[in-house]
Amino acid sequence: MIDKNLVREIIAKRVAKEFKDGDVVNLGIGLPTEVANYIDKDVEVILQSENGFIGLGPAPEEGKEDKDLVNAGGKYVTMMPGGACFDSAMSFAIIRGGHVDATVLGALQVDEEGNLANWMIPGKMVPGMGGAMDLVVGAKKVIVAMEHTAKGAPKILKRCTLPLTAAKEVNLIVTEMGVIEVTDKGLVLKEIAPNTTVEEVIAATEANLIISEDLKVMEL
């Protein structure tokens, strides 16, 4: 079994390759946030923070925190040159209006239709959806970045059993085992991690997987 940190690094590195110069991207809390560390230096990605600005930069040095500048997780951050601030209505107008090229989120479950569940476990965890429902509906491309299984149980299912965040909005699933595209025909395994077999991916996935004729090894 590979190290948790390595798993996260693999996922974040692979997601980072999805972006092209000038893309506007919203990264969810947790693992998705780490994607920013692996974006190619020649590629300028503009990060949108749904609490109200574009140009999200890395965490400040200790002692240089600005009490007025946090990300959507409430953590102190910095702003890149050329950043711009706005209110919550404008922030979500930008998101819902399709002005964000991609959003990267974690998931509890994803399914064959591209349905996503990531905001509550009834009777257990009801934190609220925050901005996730709008992000998943509004962003041009929805990338789920998550570990392939949870305590060994598949998270990529035939049908989500948890309450949905949004229906049929996921475009791409990136895990430490591979890259799966959501298509009209179902889930297509496009890339597979080095040292992993197709059989292993299938075994760890409840959903039917269509194996791409052009299956590639995940580039990291």
Binding site: S88, A89, M133, P163, A166
Partner: protein, 218 residues
């Protein structure tokens, strides 16, 4: 017209059972001094509209922790375990609203619109009990306007007429809430002379603000 009051003076407008909107995102951009004064006053049965319930010891979370709130309309309660505990104990009602929908519902009231047609929440529990409207073959949820008796706003710079400028991410829900309440009170981190905020850089025009309270930095 002098709009500047002390915190004690504006407390007369805060009463049991009111619906109050508070700006702020995880307490950043929340009028902490006014929240403290409301905690001290101890009014009860409030309905709070805010992005989230912040933390037990910060932002509107303090009102929840002090059991002054009967209902919250928010997008997130995960950072304040007390909200979840009271919800599970049946002590507080929680209406969860997607963040963008919450913003548009508040804006809709402030802008005199009858509601919002949004694709957000379609196919989820959010659509339960709501009207679905089809426009040119696409489906949308009809989400209704939200208003409040009082909006409590936090401004970074407020001029003596009541024009407001917000620093960085403190803006969030403040400007739209300033349009959606019968009474608008702004806590000013700094009160400046009229003219110090350029007309183009005013975010909340003074006509929307009823009272200004000096807050100071916290």
């Amino acid at each position: 017209m002098n709009k500047i009051k002390t915190i004690d003076e504006v407390m007369e407008f805060i009463k049991d059972g009111q619906t109050i909107m508070f700006g702020g995102f995880l307490a950043v951009g929340t009028a902490e001094n006014i929240v403290d004064a409301i905690v001290k006053k101890g009014v009860k049965d409030l309905t709070i509209i805010c992005n989230d319930t912040a933390f037990v010891d910060k932002g509107v979370g303090k009102l929840v922790a002090n059991k002054q709130v009967k209902k919250v309309i928010v997008s997130h309660i995960g950072t304040n375990p007390e909200t979840g505990r009271q919800m599970n104990a049946g002590e507080i009602e929680v209406e969860l609203v997607p963040q963008g929908t919450l913003a548009e519902r508040i804006r809709a009231y402030g802008a005199g619109l009858g509601g919002v047609l949004t694709p957000t929440g379609l196919g989820t529990v959010v659509e339960e009990g709501k009207t679905i409207i089809e426009v040119d073959g696409k489906k949308y949820l009809l989400e209704k306007p939200l208003k409040a008796d009082v909006a409590i706003i936090k401004g970074s710079k407020v001029d003596k007429k009541g024009n407001v400028w917000y620093s960085k991410t403190t803006r969030n829900f403040n400007p739209i809430m300033a349009m959606a309440a019968d009474l608008v009170i702004v806590e000013a981190e700094e009160i400046v002379e009229v003219g110090e905020i350029e007309p183009e850089n005013v975010v909340t025009p003074h006509i929307l603000v009823d009272y200004i309270v000096k807050g100071g930095e916290r």
